[in-house]
């Protein structure tokens, strides 16, 4: 196996609030390899985005605080490096596409200038060169008449077009790692498909490793090579995408899959995971998922002992469940048609 391009080890991020300390990310460890697409899934507040923002130094501190961990990018620890060096990596070798294109672009500056600014920040080029490069990028992400669109403001762009512009900005400096934070969540379903194509194109064009943060299992099935499942700021399961859909080994993953509506069966009710996501200020003792878990069934071990991430096979499949083996053989109900059925939101 090649060396990982990004290696996150034991990352913990806290937020101090008036109600107490929110443990947004707890001892998270995973690797991203060159050229692969890593999906990170989990419900809102599971720490998917925060772990990435923290690595790039983009969480406001205070209230945020990185209390432990390391994040090696190309062998350099992003969490201990100087502000100047980290700034050079941001938008250069590591670029990010954000969730809401409506608010992520500055309303008072021209779209083209905002993209060109990203080029200027990392390259010593003339205004003219930056402009023609920007127009090239806009063309690449499928913005029609880019020469004219360059001089328009964000409010003159539709949501889908803005997200294209955001992607153009992200790939402006040919990043080695592209982090897409719920890139399609704020868009219409038809636009989602288009943006997905643009993302794929951008990934193929730059050959960048991609981290895709989403709560949409359909997107994961479509794009990802490997998947991290997060819950309450912790990694619950990590495996390749095929195994995740065919043989999930964590009850939370199984619950997520089962909550998807199936297109092949006539169903009246959805099957959500019972209960609520836990409070991140005072998470439940033991396994954070045990109050909602169908495997736990009041077993003492789930309540008292926090399950570590442990390998389940030779292929790097890991799960944080004491009783992961009990899921063996028990196929997910989704398994017949993983990709088609996963077309809607998780």
């Amino acid at each position: 196996m090649p060396d990982p391009i990004l290696s996150i080890k034991d990352l913990t991020v806290d937020f101090r609030t008036e109600d107490g300390v929110v443990h947004a990310v707890n001892h998270v460890t995973y690797d991203v390899f060159p050229g692969e697409t890593l999906g990170i899934v989990g419900e809102s507040g599971s720490g998917k985005s925060v772990s990435q923002l923290a690595v790039l130094g983009l969480i406001p501190q205070p209230p945020g605080r990185i209390t432990s961990g390391e994040a090696y990018f190309n062998g350099k620890n992003l969490l201990t490096m100087g502000k100047k060096d980290l700034r050079r990596i941001r938008g250069g070798e590591v670029a990010m596409v954000f969730q809401d294109p409506m608010t992520s672009l500055n309303p008072v500056f021209k779209i083209g200038d905002q993209i060109a600014e990203a080029i200027h920040a990392h390259n010593d080029v003339s205004n003219k060169a930056a402009r023609s490069r920007t127009i090239e990028l806009l063309k690449l992400v499928g913005v029609p008449t880019p020469e004219r669109r360059y001089d328009q403001y964000p409010h003159e762009f539709s949501g889908g077009m803005r997200q294209r512009a955001m992607i153009a900005m992200a790939i402006a400096n040919e990043p080695k790692l592209l982090i897409a934070d719920e890139p399609t969540t704020a868009l219409d379903v038809t636009i989602q498909a288009q943006i997905l194509e643009v993302l794929k194109k951008a990934r193929d064009e730059t050959g960048a490793a991609t981290i895709l943060i989403t709560h949409d299992l359909g997107l994961v099935a479509e794009m990802a090579d490997r998947v991290v499942v997060m819950y309450a700021g912790k990694v619950m399961e990590l495996t390749d995408v095929r195994t995740l859909f065919e043989a999930p080994r964590h009850p939370y993953t199984v619950g997520l899959m089962d909550s998807l509506p199936r297109m092949t069966v006539d169903e009246e009710w959805l099957r959500p995971i019972p209960g609520q996501p836990p409070s991140l200020i005072s998470p439940p003792p033991g396994c954070p998922f045990h109050p909602r878990c169908f495997l736990s069934n009041g077993r003492e071990r789930c309540r008292e002992e926090e399950p570590p991430l442990r390998p389940l096979g030779p292929d790097g499949h890991v799960s944080a469940c004491h009783f992961a083996e009990e899921l063996e053989g028990q196929q997910s109900k989704q398994v017949e048609t993983p990709v088609e059925a996963a077309g809607s939101k998780g």
Partner: protein, 325 residues
């Protein structure tokens, strides 16, 4: 942009007409402006009658309004009620520039300091500087204007008496022989510095708080995060991406302030004996010269409308979304 400005200009016409109606009828509702003259035993009935005739005070009120508008437009507000030989405009033309000089001096410095302090407080939220700035702005809000004005007068008079140095003058607009050209303006500055400082303290307090609040709001927005994610240096993130957006609320506040101050900083101008809009209004109010008061009100209303117009144009310049609406 030009259509935007033209449209805003057209909008201000009905506002000005509405203001004139409001001014005329509410001032008229104060009662008969000649009531005191009528009971004055030294004046003959004929004299009072002549004043009444000359100003059409015997006509129905709506007709009076018509005459008033006509005089205002054709004869620049005409004469004061009680001094037929004089011209209201001559007085206004004298006092208005004095007030404008005072306001521009104080507000321009207030904007520079207020914005600077506000931005820095926001960037270094909860720092020592932020706490000091916050304390001083609350002090500035709480301090009565007249008290500060008097304290400054005492301080600079004492300096003059003790060391015989004239840094700033403590009353009036000019020295006896101010000279001309640059000497005149240096002298004028020395006279306006203390009253401007008095007005500035409150304005700085206000502007810095507004700027701090709107900067804090913007600094946590998604597009500022995008600017950081692009790898821009922090100075560019705050001073370009955040600052321009944070300026929008401040434009409103300072425009309102400018407009309101044109009406005269009555207390400050009175204490420093400046021949400005404030004392002019007070004098005419006490002598019940309703025509002078109404002229003054019209000028003030026009100033408020004008500064709102300027604010609108500035909005359009800062925020492209407003330009096209």
């Amino acid at each position: 942009m030009i259509t935007y400005v033209l449209r805003r200009l057209l909008y201000s016409i009905p506002v000005l007409i509405a203001a004139s109606l409001l001014i005329f009828f509410s001032v008229s509702a104060m009662g008969d402006p000649l009531a005191e003259l009528k009971i004055n035993p030294l004046l003959s009935k004929q004299t009072v009658h002549n004043i009444e005739q000359r100003n059409h005070l015997d006509k129905p009120i709506i007709v009076q309004y018509g005459y008033w508008v006509k005089t205002a437009v054709t004869d620049k507000f005409g004469s004061p009620l009680l001094i037929p030989g004089e011209h209201i405009w001559n007085d206004l033309r004298r006092v208005l520039p004095h007030t404008l000089q005072l306001i521009f001096l104080s507000e321009i410095f207030a904007l520079i300091f207020g914005i600077g302090i506000g931005v820095y407080s926001a960037i270094r939220q909860y720092s020592f500087f932020d706490y000091v700035a916050t304390s001083f702005s609350f002090l500035g809000f709480a301090m009565p204007v007249f008290w500060l004005a008097l304290m400054l007068q005492i301080a600079f008079t004492d300096i003059f008496i003790k060391w015989h140095v004239r840094i700033f003058y403590t009353s009036g607009l000019s020295s006896e022989n101010p000279g001309s050209g640059i000497h005149f303006w240096v002298d004028r500055f020395q006279h306006l510095a203390l009253p401007a400082l008095t007005l500035m303290v409150l304005s700085i307090a206000q502007y810095s708080r507004f700027m701090r609040a709107s900067m804090l709001e913007v600094i946590n927005s998604d597009y500022v995060r995008t600017a950081r994610a692009k790898g821009l240096v922090e100075r560019r993130v705050t001073l370009k991406h955040a600052f321009r957006n944070a300026l929008i609320p401040l434009v409103t506040v300072s425009a309102i302030n400018f407009g309101a101050l044109i009406g005269g900083a009555v207390i400050t101008e009175t204490i420093f004996q400046l021949d400005g809009m404030g004392p002019y209004f007070i004098q005419n109010l006490f002598s019940r010269d309703t025509y002078a008061v109404m002229a003054w009100l019209m000028i003030t209303a026009t100033a408020v409308i004008l500064f709102n117009l300027i604010a609108d144009i500035l909005y359009g310049y800062i925020d492209p979304r407003i330009r096209y609406e």
